[in-house]
């Protein structure tokens, strides 16, 4: 930005901290996220896993404990006790570079402990009367076998006598409640507050935690498999298979994978991964400006989230009644035209009413894949107006697995509706097309500009603030560097993929091997709760399987569970 200054604001006072005030009159302006560009080129040059930041090195080994995510907690409790828990009531995960599943980052704090205890006792209070009614138990002795089974499933493995005694003791303890129902509530609260429940344990068969590679014990393999596919703990059959040693064998795991995939709960695993892949951790719909949410029904946030999940189900499993077979491919999620919903979706997409169980009719503007879904856009846009650079950054980080450095301090602003004779995009590019800004903006700009017509909740707008038609064309720069250890760090220049409009860009993304291999990388992290290391053959095998199958979900899961590393843990210094 120092060699020339295409935007010439009037003179203004420089702050002590080096930030300039923007030109007067910029009542409606969009932040131009100029970036230093240092990181973008460096990442390309060595062809390394660019989104494995320095701190990721610290999270490249198996922690041995993986705190349940909100969705895993809710699904597990539902399967164990038939109680529905709002995932948003569960303590939230810590996000590390766009990932919510990196185990080493998930510490359970004082407030978390308190919240888990309160939630566990609430669940217990709801489950206890039903358990007593169904079992017709009137004393603790009658409940013991029921609780032993619950303990085994909740703690995902064999239960030692001392543990069994510990959790059965409150059934006869007056302090734990005046009635059997209250004491049962206490027991359930205790189970759901235990580190044995709140963490998935992945421990070695030899029982040691020394540095190196170790074979996992059977229950750990069962949990890794069931949480990958169901987002929930292993059922009795899977635990029994673990006891028999069947899961140590790749064929045995694949047999059980098939069984788990045939269960309706398999949709949870796919939804969980897609949330992770697209970095959609929270519902951001209600955070948008009043002008954006005006006119939407009060339950729009819930409807849009449900619609997002239905699209995943429909694409990967065939959820609708339309009779069309599902593609079963992750990449189709990036170009599906089948969207579902009610009033909010119809309003935002500009469609007519839907027939029950059928996708919505075509609406206004281009609409292709989940990246144009209102729920996904809400997670990656500002409160109002256009958000080309946040979206471009999201595309590069989540779909292309590259790191974009944060914006620098001195950011000029460009008005979205300032009538200067240039389009909004032209004015943005006049600022970002110079070095060093262009180092990164060459990459995040084009995919971001393809989303210019969409407002923060995905409404299509025909023209920019000055009335000019949108220019959504550009060139995608797709890194195609293979792993370093195979190619000695030689730099392969990025592939240039030109596109004419939004739909061509989205199609190019869906077709790109880079996107597919990035999805594989993120799936690896989802399965293992850590970053991959270059030498791991399973990560590469997964990438190959995803690319060759063009993102087939079932093929990807098969590649994951059949890899030798799936039954191992890697403990680093």
């Amino acid at each position: 930005m120092q060699d020339r200054a295409p935007v010439q604001p009037p003179p203004r006072e420089t702050s002590r901290r080096g930030r300039n005030a923007p030109p007067p009159g910029a009542a409606a302006a969009l932040l131009v996220a100029l970036v230093t560009g240092v990181g973008c080129r460096a990442d390309l040059v060595d062809g390394s896993h660019a989104d494995r930041p320095a701190e990721a090195e610290a999270f490249g080994s198996d922690a041995g404990l993986r705190r349940l995510t909100r969705y895993e907690y809710a699904a597990t409790v539902e399967d164990l006790l038939g109680v529905t828990v709002d995932a948003n009531a569960v303590p939230k995960e810590s996000i590390l570079r766009g990932h919510s599943v990196i185990a080493g980052q998930q510490r359970v704090g004082y407030a978390d402990v308190d919240a888990f205890l309160a939630l566990g006792l609430e669940v217990g209070a709801e489950a206890s009367p039903r358990l007593l009614a169904e079992s017709r138990c009137e004393d603790s002795a009658c409940l013991e076998p029921i609780l032993e089974d619950l303990l085994r499933r909740a703690f995902r493995g064999p239960i030692e006598d001392v543990v069994r005694e510990r959790y059965l003791r409150p059934l006869d303890a007056p302090d734990a409640g005046a009635t059997l129902e209250q004491r049962l509530t206490t027991v359930i609260g205790a189970i759901l507050s235990s580190p044995r429940f709140l963490h998935r344990r992945e421990v070695s068969a030899d029982g040691v935690g020394t540095v190196g590679r170790h074979s996992l014990d059977g229950p750990s393999i069962a949990s890794r498999l069931s949480y990958l596919v169901w987002q929930s703990g292993p059922d009795a059959e899977l635990l029994a298979a673990a006891d028999r040693g069947e899961l140590a064998d790749a064929e045995g795991r694949k047999r059980h994978l098939d069984r788990l995939l045939a269960d309706p709960r398999a949709r949870r695993g796919a939804r969980g991964f897609v949330r992770e892949w697209l970095s959609v951790f929270d519902n951001h719909v209600a955070t948008k400006s009043a002008s954006v949410v005006d006119g939407l029904p009060a339950d729009a946030p819930a409807e849009l989230e449900e619609s997002f999940e239905l699209t995943i189900d429909d694409t990967l499993f065939g959820a609708s009644d339309s009779g069309e077979p599902p593609s079963g491919r992750l990449v189709e999620l990036l170009r599906t035209t089948r969207f579902f919903g009610r009033e909010a979706m119809q309003t935002l997409l500009g469609t007519g009413p839907a027939v029950a169980g059928q996708p919505l009719p075509k609406g206004t503007g281009p609409r292709l894949g989940l990246l144009t879904h209102p729920f996904v856009l809400a997670a990656h846009t500002k409160e109002s107006g256009a958000s080309p650079f946040p979206i471009g950054k999201f595309v590069f980080e989540s779909l292309l697995c590259e790191t974009i450095p944060p914006p620098p301090a001195d950011i000029p602003t460009v008005s979205e509706d300032d009538a200067t004779g240039q389009t909004f995009r032209q004015r943005l590019e006049s600022v970002t097309n110079v070095r060093p800004c262009s180092n990164c903006h060459d990459r995040i700009g084009p995919p971001g500009f393809a989303f210019l017509p969409f407002d923060p909740l995905g409404r299509y707008r025909d023209a920019d603030g000055a009335g000019a038609p949108w220019d959504t064309s550009g060139t995608l720069l797709l890194a195609q560097a293979p792993p370093r250890d195979e190619h000695g760090g030689a730099w392969t220049p990025p592939a240039e993929v030109p596109f004419a409009d939004t739909n061509e860009m989205l199609t190019a993304l869906a077709d790109a091997e880079t996107v597919q291999s990035c999805a594989a990388r993120r799936l690896f992290r989802f399965a293992y709760g850590r970053f991959e290391v270059d030498s791991e053959t399973s990560a590469r095998a997964l990438s190959t399987a995803v690319v060759e199958s063009r993102g087939a979900w079932v093929a990807a899961l098969n590649a994951l569970v059949s890899a030798p590393e799936f039954v191992e843990m890697r403990i680093a210094e």
Binding site: S15, R16, R17, G18, R19, A21, P22, P24, A26, A28, L30, L31, S61, D62, A63, G64, L65, K92, A103, G104, R107, V108, G109, Y110, A111, V113, D114, L117, A118, E160, R166, P170, A173, D175, A176, G177, A178, G189, A190, S193, P195, H199, V203, S204, G207, G209, T210, V211, D282, T287, S289, S291, E383, S384, P406, A409, E416, I571, A572, E573
Partner: protein, 478 residues
Amino acid sequence: MTPSKLVAALSRGNYSFSRRRLLQQAGLWSVLWPLLRFERAKAQADLAPRRVLIFFSPNGPIMERGPASGSETKFTLGEFWKPLERHQADGLFFTGMHQAGVPFGEHNEYGHQSAGTGALTARTTEGTNHATGPSLDQFIGQELQRAGIVTPQRSLLWGLHGLTGHWGPWYEAAGKAVNPVANPYSALAGLLPNIAPSNGPRVDPALLRRSAALEAALADCPELRGSLGREGKELLDYHCGNLASLQTSVTEAIARPRAPTCERPSSGPDTILPEDAPFHHAENVDETMRAFRKLIPLALACDVTRVIGFSFGDTAARFGIPSSYGVPSSAQVDSGDSGPQHHAWTHVYEETADKHQALRAFTNWYSEQVALVIDELKATPDVGGGTLFDSTVILWTSELGHHPGNPLEPHPNNHVPVLLFGKGQGTISTGRLYDGAGEEDSALTLHQLFVSLARYVGLPNVDSFGNAGTGPLDWLDG
């Protein structure tokens, strides 16, 4: 084993104790408690427990330099802070303060990032996208328990927002954010088991159930440790240390008698809002605050905790107040937001009457809420014959401040308004103004202020807080 020794033992990874033993000790503690309390009370000349209440407000006043102007003892409050005039004689007003912990005159981080994470932690993010240490409220709560000053809740954190994003002000530890409880019904539900009714069982059965559940969960800890590597052990120890800390608090709640000035409420929180209301919604915040204004003195009078944090908004909050206050609506600004909310108005780069009106309205509203809480504390009797206000020190700081050379700068780490209320059982000389003049040293003054608060509440050995070791602020005692 006293609670402090218990925590120390647990922090060494020694989780092997039985609940029976714990309760026996708690029982002993319960017998000893009145004696110890008597002795301590005598030693402190019958003074009530010392407490700290910390308010945080989002964004900044931007167009005003600080809360007051004048000399140290003759000063007037700025119009943004006028609602606090009735408590002026009981306050200390700091102007020209640079954010503690944030490098002076450097812009190495995005404005909200350093301001939000630094305001109460007095540290930078060091490139981690998070605070690198605990916020003052959490620090005090943790240290009090370590020092053996145990309350049924280590600390309480309430506010007008729930989840916090990156760069929030409240941290339990480096990288570990804490979220305020925004629902007053939930806040009250968390208090009630710790407040024995005057005509019922001395110990709430819910507390005993919590204790029983925690006992089982905690006993799992040592059994899980052996098979883990270093990273797993660290995760487990962090988790189990917090389980032990909570168990310590619950045990204390079971053991202690009800404070004589404490009355367990027989109905819900003082609000007409239903339990599932959007409490943080602009039109609801007055009603929500009405409830919290009663909950704060309740928690302190019943000695449920000695430290409360209260958050008016998250970092860069799109905070709004009811339309009856007449806040004008901002057009869309460069951050993408708009409307009658605080953050949008800080990003308006014109010095307009509307902007001034909006920023004044927000700071007036925060000021009025702090003033009303002080009213409540002054009206609530405390043990020893005084009121809660006599023993409670109230700190209010803001995410951002003002840039004297550029009143349109939305992210100034300088001239952050800081206000302190309460004579602190006679340890603080109030009714004065401190002018840090925007100089680098003013950040060190804030470090010292934080140290003084920690010392006031019962941690005499604390010598530093945040990323600077500074000692206390001697200026407080006049």
